[in-house]
Every structure is written in structure tokens, then in C-alpha cells.
């Protein structure tokens, strides 16, 4: 897969993991005119990308340096580790930050307890479980859907 040089002029985002979360992020970014590369080990997961998705896909293991190099990780403005595996997410996020020098790196955290630990490593983390907790327990008044 070859990423054209000209996309570096737009915001360049790499998303690892094309499950429900990763594909939703990638679709949203693509719709917002960002240049997006999505990496997943299973090419079938790319079926979750919308018909309008204008980014690139790489079938491969993002834990391999060669795969991140193919994705031109050093050029990324934002790197999002959104697989369902916490250890993989934080490992790749650290590589993106330290080895490739990506200025903004975010890792998904599946197990809420790990969020504070990872934060100490200088990686921004997002835990969808923690974020959604209040919405399960206390519905926003006047809005039946979130």
C-alpha cells in the first residue's frame, strides 16, 4: 500500500484496530476531511468502514515496526490505538510516541483500572467504559438517547 505524499498537507491520522470503535473513529475522521490510515490484522474488519471512507487500509500487525513504517507513522499528526487489547494498545502507542515522535497519541483502555497507570507513561488514554458509566446510571434529563 502506498500513501500519496500530498495527504500530509491535511491532518494525518493513523487508527489501529478497525472494530466497532476504530471504524467509527476512522469513518468520522474521513468524513471530516482528515487523511486516515487504518491498520488491522484482519482485512474483513475493513467491511465496517463506510462506503464514503476515503482513507487507506493496511492489513497487518501494528506491533511490527515495518507496518507502522508503511503507514508513514512519523508523518502522523494523531495516532489512535483502538484495538480491543489493552497491552497491544499501550505498546503501540509508546512506539508511536517515542520511536516515531507522533505529537498526539491516544490509546483506548478496555479495563478501567489501567487508565491511571497508562497516564503515568505520558500516553493519553480514553476508556469508553468509564465515560459511559454515568449515562447508564443517570440519564440526561430530556434526552432519552445518548
Amino acid at each position: 500500500m502506498r500513501v500519496p505524499r500530498q495527504i500530509s498537507k491535511r491532518k494525518y491520522v493513523i487508527v489501529v484496530g478497525c472494530g466497532n470503535l476504530g471504524s467509527h473513529i476512522a469513518n468520522t475522521l474521513s468524513a471530516g476531511r482528515s487523511a486516515v490510515v487504518v491498520i488491522d490484522r484482519d482485512a474483513r474488519s475493513f467491511d465496517l468502514l463506510s462506503a464514503d471512507f476515503s482513507g487507506f487500509t493496511i492489513e497487518g500487525d501494528a506491533a511490527e515496526l515495518a507496518v507502522l513504517e508503511t503507514a508513514k507513522t512519523a508523518d502522523a499528526d494523531l495516532f489512535i490505538s483502538a484495538s480491543s487489547r489493552d497491552n497491544l494498545n499501550i505498546f503501540i502507542a509508546q512506539v508511536a510516541r517515542i520511536h516515531f515522535g507522533v505529537p498526539d497519541v491516544v490509546a483506548r483502555v478496555v479495563e478501567p483500572e489501567l487508565g491511571s497507570f497508562y497516564g503515568q507513561l505520558g500516553i493519553r488514554t480514553v476508556c469508553p467504559t468509564t465515560l459511559s458509566l454515568d449515562h447508564f446510571l443517570k440519564p440526561p434529563s430530556g434526552d432519552r438517547r445518548t
Copy 2:
């Protein structure tokens, strides 16, 4: 499993699915002095409950009416369908609402596209993916962790 009658004086909550999300909800509710019953088909998932969890667990398929009856669903103040399967969540939520008359029913939505559809059925839905999207793309200023 037998749920003692006296717990009905506190807020009584049933949580279906004891994965990362369900267990986190159950632990939080239990710590907040709610009476909680967690239902899961796989007893091993109850390992995710904290040592302080003071609620009850039922190993069984919440899609079976007998299981929901064992959980005393008719007495519940809040019913949360938090499994990883959208179809199951919305089916059980409808049963809890229509058959057992639970006043507040919430279903987790895994695939963001389904949220608006389910909302039309009168079931409150929460989609952790949608809720976390902004946090992945735009970090809250001054806070590196969410």
C-alpha cells in the same frame, strides 16, 4: 439463587452481562449501596466483580424468562442490558420493560448506527463508542487522561 426480600428497600438494579462494562457498572452500583444482581451465561465472568461486590450473581441466559424471574426483574428499579450483543441487549430490554414493567431500562449499543433505531422503541440506549469519540479526537485541555 435466592434474592432476599429486604433488598427491595434499597435501589434494586439488574445488570445483564458481566464483561468489562457490566462488571464495572455492577461494582460501581454495589459500592454506592444499590442492591445489584448480575446475570451472565459464563460464571467465569464474575471474576471481574470486585472483592467488595455485595450483590448477587446468576449464571444463566437472560433471554430466558425463567432467569429474569429468578432475578426478580419485576421488582427492579433499573435494568441494564450491557452484554456485547446488540440484538440480545435490545430484546432483553424490551422484555424487562414490557413484560416486567421495569420503570427505567437501558440497553448498551455496540454498533453506533443502531442507537437511533432502538430509541424509537422507547428503550434508553447508551453507546460507549459514540460517547468516547470526542475524547479520542479532541483531548480536553489541561487533562491528559479521561
